[in-house]
Symmetry: C2
Subunit: 461 residues, 2 copies
């Protein structure tokens, strides 16, 4: 098997004969020598190959096929590059164009393209530097999330994607069905008994409730899977399909939860920074200046815990004029979150004890009867990145909240079993994978950190 360019560059053996297989990113020629940049996706930096056009072994016909986008297998000697721009290069002894790329029709010439244009060709944009780097970082973050939880005794649980749970107010939902849409009603109400599952079925908005059931037997679990929102909103931070990580821990108080979340976040940031340094340097150079320092600052800071009530007071006293004036009882907006962490606390902030009104029914009630044991982690330049809580483990109190909020008690009866039998204090949090990738890459639009993004009225392949 041939080595990847990353392997070759990580352990270069000068004057050895090597073979690379990849795609041509750029090619220039001075009439005598062709300079061909080959990339195989293992690395942001490809490797440059030098081809002596005057060497008779290279046919003119073949040299003409050296174009951007063509796939190539190339063999030569690894030497120190005499030119700037790269340390090593390949003195080519042999090459073979495997698949050509017609320059008239190939959409990805080496000129720059807008992200908007590239979104229309998600199957090809991965061949650019930016999207290759995003993919490598997405991979690294995903793996390190698994590694962190596995090292710490958590079990990975696949909570269901199709669910009869309608989301309990977490957002708009997609329906899943096999009914024939053109013969669905016959003038009557739809009878879901005829549908595939014999009842209504939806795409999940969270794995938390199912995850709690597993935590109530396995103690520490996490989910990591796709979740869905059918909200008709076009923003740079919302997609209809995204991946979420949701750890859930029996016997964890809110404080344990906070400590875990801080430790977890720092681990992921640190490992990604270390293992994807070239990719992150690329984003620091071309997408968000100061990116690396921003990440390092979070890694090196002690997150500060502040109650919602304290936070509101600080915001009320701030000199800044907000679009929405802060007051006790409001849900914090991104402008407030960012001001808190960037200007007031000047490092990551963990806001706890939110008014129950705008938090989910399952959050544990504080003794004041007004606030709940929620916690949001806010980081500079983005605001909320993690949201979690201690869960209400008392059956009566949970029942009361469900009634207050007019939720369907029948569909939650199984969930209440977890409080009826062997209930324990427990906590968990949720992290949107894409938001974390956006944070680490500086990419402004969530559509550019998902391989094939799904948003309202947009569905490529």
């Amino acid at each position: 098997m041939h080595k990847s360019i990353k392997e070759i560059l990580n352990n270069p053996i000068l004057d050895s004969i090597i073979t690379v297989k990849g795609w041509i990113r750029t090619k220039r020629s001075n009439g005598k020598i062709s300079f061909v940049e080959i990339n195989d996706g293992s690395n942001i930096k490809g490797i440059q190959a030098i081809i002596n056009e005057e060497d008779h072994q290279f046919e003119k016909k073949e040299l003409k096929k050296l174009t951007t986008g063509a796939s190539i297998s190339l063999t030569g000697i690894l030497i120190l590059s005499p030119a700037k721009g790269q340390t090593y290069e390949i003195k080519t002894t042999n090459f073979n164009i495997i698949g050509e790329a017609d320059q008239e029709t190939y959409l990805l010439q080496k000129k720059r393209h807008t992200f908007e244009f590239l979104r229309e060709i998600p199957h090809l944009r991965i061949r650019t530097n930016t999207f290759g780097a995003v993919a490598r970082i997405r991979n690294q973050i995903s793996y390190k999330i698994h590694e962190y939880f596995q090292k710490n005794g958590f079990l990975y649980i696949h909570t269901p994607i199709i669910t009869s749970n309608d989301g309990e107010g977490a957002g708009e939902i997609f329906r899943v069905s096999t009914l024939d849409f053109n013969n669905i009603t016959n003038g009557k109400e739809v009878d879901f008994k005829d549908d595939f599952f014999g009842k209504q079925a939806f795409l999940t908005v969270t794995g938390q409730l199912h995850g709690e059931a597993y935590a109530m037997a396995l103690s520490k679990i996490y989910t990591f899977g796709p979740t869905f929102r059918a909200e008709n909103s076009n923003t740079t931070r919302h997609a209809s399909e995204f991946w979420m990580i949701e750890p859930e821990m029996a016997f964890f108080t809110l404080e344990d939860n906070i400590n875990l979340a801080e430790n977890f976040l720092k681990y992921i940031l640190k490992e990604t920074l270390n293992n994807c340094n070239q990719d992150i340097e690329f984003f620091d150079n071309f997408i968000e200046k100061g990116l690396i320092k921003k990440i390092e600052d979070v890694i090196n800071s002690n997150f500060e815990v502040i109650t919602y009530t304290q936070a509101i007071k600080q915001l009320e006293n701030a000199t800044k004029t907000f679009e929405i004036k802060p007051y006790w009882g409001m849900d914090l907006q991104t402008e407030h979150e960012r001001y808190l962490t960037e200007e007031i606390i000047k490092k990551p902030a963990i806001v706890i004890d939110y008014p129950k009104e705008f938090k989910a029914f399952y959050m544990k009630m504080n003794e004041d009867g007004k606030t709940v044991k929620g916690m949001d982690i806010l980081v500079p330049r983005i605001g909320e990145i993690i949201g979690g809580s201690e869960r209400e483990d008392n059956l009566d109190k949970l029942n009361k909240r469900i009634k207050e909020l007019n939720l369907e008690i029948e569909t939650l009866n199984w969930y209440l079993d977890l409080r009826r039998f062997g209930s324990t204090p427990h906590s968990g949090f949720g992290l949107g994978l894409e938001r974390l990738i956006q944070y680490i890459t500086g990419m402004a639009n969530i559509r550019d950190v998902i391989p094939f993004p799904r948003t309202p009225k947009t569905l490529y392949f």
Copy 2:
């Protein structure tokens, strides 16, 4: 933070004071001493605590709450157990029942339950030995899959769940929609322009095609995510929602693909056997006698490659009477696959070069024009466990197959771009996670290796 029972038993410190938090699995009393078995899910074996009922510090009222299913925090001294059945036990100095479990209504008393009954309470069955062990093995396999690919330079890609691709004949599909089912047609044909994505949308049946697009830039990728089938079939091997692993490698021939698949499968089996030995012993004892030997045999064997044509000849010559008589051109049935690997080859077999008729359109055509470069790995006791192929990388040949099969060329145009621009030989395979878990645990029914299984007319929560 308290230690898990696994941590305590892996590194026991005699005569130290320890605290365990978990759930009571069993409790018996001789009138003087209570023997309480506590499990926290970290281990199949819990830990036994001894409570001296005559000690006045333990209130009668509290002792009565020591029942199956209750959650408990218990502190005591770790001692060698004088009795059989366990090496260590805890001499209790203090305990606290956190959440009771009413013995009248709690469905999981210690008596045995059928798997059929337990399927109706997926949120509680995880509290049994069997389902705890399945969950730990599922976790281990999942993590080792990531570890294997990461060690070998593959990038993890999240291919989309919602897709406009209708599966290309891979099976029945679910539709995803936000249309109001009671006002969907108004007597006319449904106009999907009004639906959420402005077109028809489905749940994915495979990530392969999207994965190929990424392999054509990143070289080696893998997917690991949920896939769906809306087939109305009730078998022990089919679920409507299951997780699939699909690596895809540029520049890999069928032979490279075979070597990877064999290496990969052995790695997962070996690591799971080593790291989940207690759980697998449990399955060997109670679910499938000889399980460990079966797995070890696969790890220690060299898989044998055989062509489909050779396989059919061997089956035709076999003395066994099959339900369906083997002949060239048929798709192999499980009875044929099992006979091949168990009786003829007597170890794992890799069947290659299948007739094109019953294989997918994207498989690379052999020079005979009749067979394709597919490969299925068959293992004793189950039959096919991995299916893969070299992909057709030639645009004209691929186009021809698409036309022959009357597939919708418009929806595949993007996929053909991968052959138009920088095409390369490439290969990949698919592994159903649940089938692998069934193989490693011996669990007969796929419904019992998925946390919340989805099958026709069955959807719990």
